[in-house]
C-alpha cells in the first residue's frame, strides 16, 4: 500500500480534495448574489425599505432605472433577483399594506429559494427598524406584502434544475469514461504497436476512435432530451439547433479528454481513475450542477472555469429553461471548440507512433 503511489493518491488525496471542496468551497449558502433594485417613484420610505437589501452582506444589489432593464439583466443571468418597488408604493402603504414585487430566476431553484428568504428577511428588518423608531405607528400599519414571481422555472421544480445538468453528466460519462479505456487497452494488448507500423496516421487513429463514440453520445443525448421532455416535463425553451450544436461540441471535448488520458496513461486501470478524477468529479462538483458557483471562493471559481463542463452547464441550463441567448451560445461553443482543438493535438501527440 505504501509503495503503490496511484492507490495512495486515491486513498488520501481524493478525500482531502473533497473535504476542502465541501468544507470551504461548496455550500448551498448564497453570498454576494446580484440583485437589481428598481424604484419607480423615489421616496424616503422606498429608500428605507431597500436599505435592508442594500446593506445585506449576502446580497450585492444595484439600482436599475427601469423594470424592463432589470428584466433584461435577469434574462442574461447578470442578476438573480429583482426587487421592484412599484409607483403607488407610498399610497398603498398609506392604506395599510404595500406590495413589493420580487422576481426570482428559477433556473437554479436552490439559489432562488435561498434568495427569497434573504430578501424577505432584509425587507422585514427594514420595516422593524422603522417600527422601532416609532414611525410605523404614526403612518399607519405599514405592512409590506411581498409579491413573488419566479421566472424560467415557474413551479420552482428541482427536476427542472437537475435534468439539464444531467445531460452534462451523461455526456461526460459517455465521453471520458468510454474513451479513457480505448487507447490504453490497445497499449496493453499490444495492438497499437502493429497498428503503428502501417500507413495509418496518428490523426486517423484519433478520428477512427472518436467517430463511433460521437454516434453513441448523440444517441444518449437524444435519450436525455426525450426523457427531459416526456418523462420529466422539463421545457426546452431554447433552439434545438443550439442544444444539439453545443452538446455535440461538449461531447467531442469529453471524448477527446478521455482519449488523451488513455493515450497518456497507457494503462486501463490508471486511465479510468484519472478520467474519474479529472472529468466526472469536476463535472459533478465544480460545473455548477449542484452548487452555485457564485457562492464559492475565488480559487474554486477559477478552477471551475478551467473545467469544460462549467461552460456547457451554464449554457445548457439557459437553453433549457430560459431560451436561446445566441451570444452566449457562440461564446460557449468557442470555448468548447478551443478545448477540442487543444485536446485533439494533445491526443495526436500521445499517438505519434513512437514507443520512447
Amino acid at each position: 500500500m505504501l509503495r503503490d503511489r496511484s492507490n495512495l493518491l486515491v486513498g488520501f488525496l481524493l478525500p482531502i480534495a473533497l473535504i476542502l471542496l465541501f468544507g470551504y468551497g461548496l455550500s448551498f449558502d448564497v453570498k454576494n448574489a446580484p440583485v437589481a433594485i428598481v424604484i419607480d417613484e423615489p421616496s424616503l420610505a422606498a429608500r428605507e425599505l431597500v436599505a435592508g437589501v442594500e446593506g445585506s452582506s449576502y446580497l450585492a444589489s444595484r439600482r436599475v432605472g427601469t423594470l424592463a432593464e432589470a428584466e433584461r439583466l435577469l434574462g442574461d443571468g447578470k442578476v438573480d433577483a429583482i426587487v421592484h418597488v412599484p409607483v403607488d408604493f407610498l399610497r398603498q402603504r398609506g392604506r395599510g399594506a404595500a406590495q413589493v414585487q420580487l422576481v426570482l430566476n428559477g433556473i437554479d431553484s436552490v439559489t432562488a429559494t435561498t434568495l427569497e428568504a434573504y430578501i424577505a428577511g432584509a425587507l422585514g428588518k427594514a420595516m422593524e427598524h422603522r417600527f422601532d423608531r416609532g414611525q410605523g405607528t404614526a403612518h399607519g400599519a405599514g405592512q409590506i406584502v411581498l409579491v413573488q414571481r419566479i421566472w424560467f422555472n415557474e413551479t420552482s421544480n428541482s427536476t427542472w434544475y437537475l435534468v439539464p445538468g444531467l445531460v452534462v453528466l451523461i455526456m461526460t460519462l459517455v465521453g471520458a469514461f468510454l474513451t479513457s479505456l480505448l487507447v490504453a487497452r490497445e497499449w496493453e494488448r499490444g495492438t497499437l504497436e502493429s497498428l503503428f507500423v502501417t500507413p495509418v496516421r496518428p490523426i486517423e487513429i484519433v478520428i477512427a476512435k472518436l467517430a463511433p463514440y460521437v454516434l453513441v453520445g448523440l444517441v444518449d443525448l437524444a435519450m436525455c432530451l426525450l426523457a427531459a421532455r416526456l418523462l420529466f416535463d422539463v421545457p426546452i425553451r431554447g433552439s434545438l439547433v443550439a442544444v444539439l450544436l453545443s452538446s455535440t461540441m461538449y461531447l467531442v471535448v469529453s471524448l477527446l479528454l478521455g482519449l488523451f488520458i488513455s493515450g497518456t496513461t497507457r494503462n486501463q486501470f490508471a486511465a479510468s481513475q484519472v478520467a474519474l478524477l479529472t472529468s466526472f468529479m469536476p463535472a459533478m462538483m465544480l460545473s455548477g450542477f449542484v452548487f452555485d458557483l457564485r457562492n464559492v471562493p475565488l480559487g474554486v471559481q477559477v478552477a471551475a472555469q478551467v473545467v469544460p463542463a462549467t461552460h456547457f452547464m451554464a449554457l445548457i441550463k439557459t437553453l433549457f429553461l430560459a431560451g436561446t441567448d445566441w451570444p452566449m451560445v457562440a461564446r460557449s461553443c468557442l470555448i468548447l471548440g478551443g478545448y477540442a482543438l487543444v485536446l485533439l493535438f494533445a491526443t495526436r501527440r500521445t499517438l505519434r507512433k513512437r514507443l520512447d
Partner: protein
Amino acid sequence: MSVAAPGELLPRKRPVVVARDLRKVFTGPDAVPFDALRDVHFEVAPGTLTALVGPDGAGKTTLMRMIAGLLHPDGGTLEVLGLDVRHEAQAVQNRISYMPQRFGLYEDLSIQENLDLYADLHGVSKETRAERFPRLLAMTDLARFTARPAGQLSGGMKQKLGLACTLVRVPDLLLLDEPSVGVDPLSRRDLWTIIEQMIAEEGLSVLVSTAYMDEAERCERVHVFNKGEQLAQGTPQELRTRVAGLTWVASPRSEEPARDLQARLIDASERIVDAVPSGGEVRYIRRPEVTDEQLDDLVGDRVARPREEELEDAFMLLLREHESDRNQVPGPSADVAGDEVRSGSSTSAAKDEAPIIEVRDLVRRFGDFTAVASTSFDVRRGEIFGLLGPNGAGKTTTFRMLCGLLPATSGHLEVAGVNLRTARATARRRIGYVAQKFALYANLSVRENLEFFGGAYGLRGRALRDRIRVIEAQFELDPHAQSGILPHGYKQRLAMAAGLIHEPRILFLDEPTSGIDPLARRAFWRTITQLSQSGVTIIVTTHFMEEAEYCDRIAIQDAGRLLALGTPRKVREQAGERGRDMNSAFIAIVEQGREASMSREPETEAVS
C-alpha cells in the same frame, strides 16, 4: 546516395537495412541509464532470411522497433529501404510489415475482420484481397474458422493469424519479433513452413528474431546479440566453425542418470563451456584452451566421442565467453543440496519408495468440454517429473488439480499421502508452487517477500527468521534488493525460494524456463537436479522439449489425453524412427495421437 531508378532494379541489390554505430539508451528500472544497444553494425540483404538471435535483454526487440521507426536511435545511422528512419518513419512504415512479439490482433474481431482491417490499413485493393486471402487462409489452415473471434483461438493459431495479417500485401521488408515464442513445437513448425513458402514465392526480405537455434539454422545470415552487443555474425556454417573440434558427447556409466554426468561436467566451468543431457547421453562443449588430459580427468572412464558441431554450440560458446568477459551472474551455489551433489549414486536410492503422487482416472470437465480425460500416472519421491504437451493440451488443468487449485470432476488424486479431494488444505501445506508469472510483490524487498510467503504458510517468529536466512544463503539472494528490479534469473530464484520457504516435499513449477536465457536455464536446471537429490519431488511443465531430458520421467498430453508416459528414452523409443531428439519425438507422438483419435473416435487412447 543514388536515387532509385524507376525500374526498381537498384534498390533490390542494395541492403534493405543498413545500421552503422547504432546506439540506444534506456533507463533501467533502478533509474540508471544503460545501453540497450551499442555500436551495432548490421545489414539485411534483400530477398533473404536474416536472424537475430540472443537471450532476453539482448536488444533484439529494440533493434526491430528502431527499424520499424517506433524508437529513435540515440546514436549512429539507420537506413531502411534507402530511407533514414529517423526522419522518414512514416515512409518506411508504409512499405514494411511488422509482427511484434505480442502480435496486435483485435480479439473481439473475427479472423476475417482482422484480415480486412489490416488490408484496409495497407490500402490493399479488392482484387488483391480476392487472390491473397484464400491463399493466406489455406497456408495458415485457418480457412475453416474465419468467423471465429481471434480471442478464442489457440496461441499457435493466433500467431499464424498475426503472420497472415502482416502478409495481406507483399511488404518490402518483413520484421518478425520472436514469432514462435510461447508456441508449441507443432505450431512452430507450421509457422516456419509459411515463412519459407512466402520467401520462396515472393522473394520477401525477412528479419526474424528468435531464441530457438533450429530456427536460426534455417536463415541465410545470423546475428548473435547479448546485452546490447553484437557478438558475431555470419552464415550458420561460418558460426558453426567457431566450435569445430570442441563438441563432444559422453555416455554415462550404466545406472548413472545422464543428468548427474551433465551436472558433473557443467560444474567444471573452467574446462567445459556447456553440457546438456540428450538422448540418454550428455552433449558438451570443451573450452578451446583445455587439453585432453584435463578432460580425461573429468570424463573418467566414460566413453566420449566427438560429434558434429551445431549452431547452438556456437551460440553457447559466444554467450559464455561474453558473460565471462563481463564477469557476470554465477549460478546459485552448488550447496543447495549439501555435499552429496557429486556422488551421483545417492539419487536413485530414495526413488523406489511408494509414490508420493498418485493419480487414477483423473477427469476434469468444463461444461461439455473435457479438459482432462481419464488420466493416470504416479510420481515417486525425489523424482523430476515433466508434463509436456502443446498449447491447450490440458497440462495447466492437470497441474492445477495436482496443486489443489482446481477440484477434479472425478478420479482419485493423492498427493503426499493426502487425498486431495477430501483434505486439500493439508495437502497444500506439503507442496510448493511456483507460478509461470512469478507471483511476487515487485515493490517489496527480497526479505519482505520471503517473510510474506513464510507467514502465508504459517511460519512465525524465530522459525521463520532462521528459515529465511537459510534459504537466502542457499539461493544467494540479497535480502535488501527490491524484487521488482532484480534481473529475470534472480527473480526466478526468489520465486523458487518463496515456493520452498515451508520446506515442502513436492515443488510444482509451471513453465519455469519460458523467457529466460540459455545460461540462466542451465543454472536453473542445475538447482532443480540438486533439489531433487535432496529428496524434493519436482513436477515441471515446459515448452522446451530438450529440457525433458533432465526429467526422470515425462508425460505427454494432448487434447486432455495422456499419449506417452515414461523415461525420456522410453518416450523417444515410442516415437520410433522419428524420435531422434525430444522435439521430433514430441511432434511424432502428438501427431500419431491425433491420427489415431481421428480414425478411432471417440475412444480414449491407450496410455503407453
